[in-house]
Amino acid sequence: MSEALSSYLLFSCAMFAVGLVGVLLRRNLVAMLIGVELMLNAVLINLVAFARFTDGQPGIGQVFALFIIGVAAAEAAVGLSIVLAVHKARGAISVDALEELKG
């Protein structure tokens, strides 16, 4: 494993961790969504770095990355529309507004 590859992987791993912590700890619904986006971007960096520095099937990593970008756009649309619905029903977009279901 080359020096350059491992530095990219370390960076993406850190970014993934930041995103995961964001999802788990933030109380704001949109901020949680941003955490997921950070995780997805870490995945993209991983893919492109592997595609650049290892000798596998050429191009497949970049193609995978493009697909993830496309799906992530759909994900943001679905997520934000649900947040909007929550806001309409509760007038707030904090996790504290979502504590009705328990048990």
Binding site: T54, A85, A89, L98
Partner: protein
């Protein structure tokens, strides 16, 4: 021509989705030129038409899937593999779609305006699951996994009510998006290790150089599917989503999507065919999942919540079959899942019928919640529905002669063959706990009196469906030799490459 034949069930699903979409934009389309009354009328027509199209179309897809059963080969530059395994699962998925469509018909708590779209998303989600069992390539796998998942996220908030389904929907969505990001991270490591995204090629590369990193990558990669199966610790969404979504949506998520999840897990686990430590990971998750699910289910007062926790436990039993990664275990897991589909549909048949009689609450809007006490005296109010409930619950509890018993027997046998005796012992103890809470529900239906309960008048079709599916559950349990050899062949072909 061969290409079209191999893709026949999926083409049928696409056609059905297109038809539903056209209904939703033509008849159900918003038009400012119409006054309120006319618009309402057209929405009603659209809902009626899409209900019928959905039901007939899904029966048509079932026929197409049965026609395409002997197809074999690959499609789309080896990204898509069609074989006995995928075709059998597609038939089961189509049957599950028929059941869910039938349960969702004339659903009073899905707003009329949303009905065509609701059925459209149900169809698209099933299409995603059908493609999932054939996906032989990580990119395909990821894209169709999200196709089936996003449709489910949108189906949950499609209900009239005061908004708690938005809460459940957001939880569902955010857990789903997070686990799918985790699973993508695992997939990128698999790609980095093997240099390709083809599942058989990755399996070969991991087998040649097994490592802890490979194990970690496979475990991360399967989290997205474990989430769909609602296995502990990825189950948090399940109780909320089951409880507040409409009965039709909950039935689809509880029954049909579980079949898709198990089949997808079988497909994805192929990458780790030579990673031996997966045995411990899957075994550990199985024990945690069944113990937690059963203990949490005991305390539930709401029938759908109880079914959700029991589903967590059932996911644990199914994992028992997968841990050995051999064809006997896979056969047992698939057989059990088929039986589970029928048993869950039976329970939801009762939930839908009883739900129709519940008083309207929440500001004149129908409530989606169904307490166990609503079943009181069911055997007097409708003996057929009480029987269907009994067969469904006893099947899940693993009482002979149902498919639940035979399935558990096959699962335990497969687990003992891979030397997991202790796990089987724990599973046996768990099963005893489970019988307790299933019997609480049976007691409400059979022992409690019917005083003060609303009258129940299920239609002829509902009665026939209840009896028919009950017979199927018993038949499957008594004559496993009608199904198991075919599954066995399918699994050998799947594992053989």
């Amino acid at each position: 021509m061969g290409l079209y034949l191999r893709f026949l069930p999926e083409l049928g699903m696409l056609g059905l989705a297109l038809a539903l979409f056209l209904v939703s934009v033509t008849i159900g389309g918003e038009s400012d030129a119409l006054d309120e009354r006319r618009r309402d009328e057209r929405r009603r027509t659209a809902a009626y038409v899409s209900d019928r199209i959905g039901l007939l179309g899904s029966v048509g897809v079932l026929v197409l899937a049965a026609l395409a059963i002997w197809q074999n080969g690959t499609l789309f530059f080896d990204a898509y593999r069609v074989g006995l395994f995928s075709q059998l699962v597609k038939i089961v998925l189509a049957a599950g779609l028929v059941g869910a469509m039938w349960l969702a018909r004339d659903a009073r708590n899905i707003p009329v305006r949303d009905r065509p779209e609701f059925l459209l998303f149900m169809t698209l989600s099933t299409l995603g699951m059908m493609m999932l069992v054939s996906a032989d390539e990580l990119i395909t796998f990821y894209v169709v996994l999200e196709l089936s998942a996003y449709c489910l996220y949108i189906m949950v908030p499609m209900a009239s009510g005061h908004g708690s389904h938005n809460e459940a929907s957001y939880k569902y969505f955010i857990y789903g998006a997070t686990t799918s990001a985790v699973s993508l991270y695992g997939m990128t490591i698999l790609y980095g290790l093997a240099g390709t995204t083809s599942i058989p090629a990755i399996a070969a590369a991991l087998g040649a150089a097994p490592s802890t990193l490979a194990l970690a990558a496979v475990v991360l990669a399967i989290t997205g599917v474990l989430f769909k199966l609602a296995v502990f610790p990825f189950h948090f969404w399940a109780p909320d989503v089951y409880q507040v979504s409409t009965h039709g949506a909950a039935a689809f998520i509880a029954a049909t999507s579980k079949v898709g999840a198990v089949a997808a897990l079988l497909r994805l686990l192929l990458v780790g065919a030579d990673v031996e430590q997966l045995y411990w990971v899957l075994g550990g998750l199985a024990v945690l999942s069944m113990t937690f699910g059963n203990l949490a289910a005991i305390a539930q007062k709401d029938l759908k919540r109880l079914l959700a926790y029991s589903g967590v436990a059932q996911g644990g039993y199914i994992l028992l079959g997968l841990m050995g990664q051999d064809s006997a275990g896979y056969t047992a897991a698939t057989y059990y899942t088929i039986g589970y589909l029928a048993m869950v549909l039976l329970c939801f048949l009762v939930i839908v019928e009883v739900g129709r009689t519940l008083p309207e609450s929440e500001g004149g809007r129908p409530s989606n919640v169904l307490p166990i006490s609503a079943l009181d005296g069911l055997h007097q109010r409708s003996p057929v529905l009480a029987l269907a409930l009994l067969v469904g619950l006893l099947g899940m509890a693993g009482v002979p002669p149902t498919a639940g018993f035979t399935g558990k027997w096959l699962l335990f046998k497969a687990a003992i063959e891979v030397e997991a005796f202790w796990l089987v012992l724990i599973a046996g103890i768990n099963n005893t706990i489970a019988i307790y809470y299933y019997l609480i529900v049976v007691k409400a239906a059979y022992v409690h009196g019917a005083e003060g309960q609303p009258r129940l008048e299920p239609g002829l079709m509902a009665k026939m469906a209840g009896v028919g599916v009950s017979l199927a559950v018993v038949f499957l349990g008594v004559f496993p030799q009608w199904v198991v050899p075919a599954l066995d062949r399918a699994m050998n072909a799947l594992l053989g490459g």
